[in-house]
Amino acid sequence: MEAILTQFFNVEIMVKALPLVLQGLGITLLICVVVIPLGLVGGLLAALAAVSRNRAVRWSAIALVDLFRAVPPLVLLIFIYAGLPFAGLSLSPFAAVAIGFFLNNSAYFAEIFRAGLLSVHKGQAEAARSTGLTQNQTLIHVVLPQATRNVLPDLMSNVVEVIKLTSLASVVSLGEMLHAAGLVRSLTYNASPLVLAAGIYLAMLWPLVRLISRFERRIAS
C-alpha cells in the first residue's frame, strides 16, 4: 500500500512534473485543434465521394477509406516519420503527426458521415429539389443537418478516439503530454508523472464519454 502511494501517487514528484506535463498538454490540445477539423473535413469529402452516383468515384473513395482503416495509426505515423526520409522527404514530428492522423481520422470520420448520409430518407432531398433548391443547397440545408444529427454520438465518440490517439505522437518525440510525462518518469524512475497525465486525460475525456453514453441511450429509446 505504502509502495503504491510512493510509486504511483507521489505528490512531490507530480508537483515537479506538473509544469512540463502542462506544457505537453498545450501541445496535445494544439494537435487536437489541427487534426480534428482536418479529419472532419477530409472525412466529409470522402463520405460525399463514397455516396456519389459515379461508380468510379464511389469505389475509389471506399477503397481508400478501407485501406486507411486497415493500417494501424502508429504504423502509418512511423512510416511517414521514419520511412519517408529514406525517400528524401523529411518531415517535422508535428507535420508527420498532422498528415498521419489526417489520413487515419478522415477514414473513420468518412465511415460515420457515410452512414449518416445514407440514413437520410430519399424523400427529403426530393422535397427540397421540388421547391427549386439546387443540389448543393439541398445538401447543406436539408441533408447534412439531418445526417450529422443522426450520427452525432458516433462523431463525438470518434473525436474522443482522436484525442486519445494524440498520445501516439510521443513515439515520434513530439513533446505532447504523454511524452512529457514519460520523460519525467524516466528521470525519476517513478510512475507518478504517468498517473498525473492519466488523470488529466480522464478529466478531459470522462465527461465526454459519459455524455456519449447518455446520448446513445436517448437515441436508442
Partner: protein
C-alpha cells in the same frame, strides 16, 4: 384586354406531349399527352403501378423523362438549357409521405426555399411563410417541429411549403394516403379551398368524393397510358373503357 381575354390567349399552364419513361426494360410511361388549363383541377386515377407517380415526378423532373416535351406556361421544362430549379419553384409538389424537414420548424420548412431559391431576406420570407401557414390554418403552429404535429398538420405544412413559393401549378401525389381517416378531411378542405382560390392542380389520389366535388376533369391511367378521360360524372357514372369499369367496380366494392 380584360383579364378573361388575357387568359384566353395565354398558353395552358401545363402541357405534356409524348412523355415516355422506362426503368430498366420496363416502360412505365408509354406516351402521355396531357394538358392542364389555367385554374383547372385534373384528377388522376389508376391502379397501383400504372405510372401515376412517375408522370408527376417527370413533370418537375424529379425523374428525367426519356422522351417527350413538357412546358409550363409556354416555357420549356425539358431540354438542356432549362434552369430546372427556377421551374421547380413554379411547380409545387406535395408528397404522400409529407417529407417535411424534421430538423426545421414548420415556419423554417416553409421559408427555406423562399430564402435560398427566391433569395428573399429573412423577415420578408417569414412574413410570406406565415401567410402560407395561415392559408392552411396552421399559423399557430409556426414554431412547432414536424415531430410534434399530427399527420394531417404535417401534410398541411407541406402544402404551405409549396404554396408559399406562389407556384403556377400544384402537383399532389396521394396526399392523403398516409393519413388516418379522421385527418383526411382537413387536408382535402385545404385543397378544395385552394381550388376555389383559382389554383391550377394536378392531383393523384383515391379520394373519389373529392374528385366529384372539386375536379374539372378525371383521367384514368393504366399500364403507362391515359386510357380514358372526362368530367367526373362521365368517368364515374358511364365509364367507357373496360379497364376503367373493372377498376371502379373493385374500388367501390372495397370502399
Amino acid at each position: 384586354m380584360t383579364q378573361a381575354a388575357q387568359e384566353a390567349v395565354a398558353p395552358p399552364t401545363l402541357v405534356v406531349r409524348g412523355l415516355r419513361k422506362s426503368f430498366g426494360s420496363e416502360e412505365v410511361l408509354q406516351g402521355i399527352d396531357l394538358t392542364v388549363a389555367r385554374r383547372e383541377l385534373v384528377f388522376v386515377l389508376g391502379p397501383s403501378g400504372s405510372g401515376k407517380s412517375t408522370m408527376l415526378r417527370c413533370c418537375n423532373r424529379l425523374e428525367e423523362p426519356d422522351a417527350g416535351e413538357i412546358t409550363l406556361e409556354g416555357d420549356p421544362v425539358t431540354g438542356p438549357k432549362v434552369d430546372v430549379n427556377q421551374l421547380r419553384r413554379r411547380m409545387g409538389m406535395v408528397f404522400q409521405a409529407f417529407n417535411l424537414y424534421p430538423h426545421l420548424s414548420a415556419l423554417s420548412n416553409v421559408t427555406l426555399a423562399l430564402r435560398k431559391v427566391r433569395g428573399l431576406p429573412r423577415p420578408e420570407a417569414e412574413a410570406m411563410g406565415l401567410t402560407a401557414l395561415d392559408r392552411v390554418g396552421l399559423k399557430a403552429k409556426a414554431a412547432s417541429y414536424p415531430a410534434h404535429l399530427s399527420g394531417g398538420q404535417q401534410q398541411r405544412v407541406a402544402i404551405a411549403r409549396a404554396l408559399a413559393l406562389e407556384p403556377s401549378v400544384m402537383l399532389f401525389d396521394e396526399p392523403t394516403s398516409a393519413l388516418d381517416p379522421e385527418l383526411v378531411g382537413d387536408v382535402l378542405a385545404v385543397m378544395q379551398d385552394m381550388k376555389a382560390q383559382g389554383m391550377t392542380m394536378l392531383v393523384v389520389s383515391h379520394e373519389m368524393k373529392f374528385a366529384r366535388d372539386a375536379a374539372d376533369r378525371v383521367i384514368f391511367m393504366d399500364a403507362g397510358r391515359i386510357v380514358e378521360q372526362g368530367t367526373p360524372e362521365q368517368i364515374f357514372e358511364t365509364p367507357h373503357h373496360e379497364r376503367t369499369q373493372t377498376f371502379l367496380a373493385r374500388f367501390s366494392g372495397r370502399g
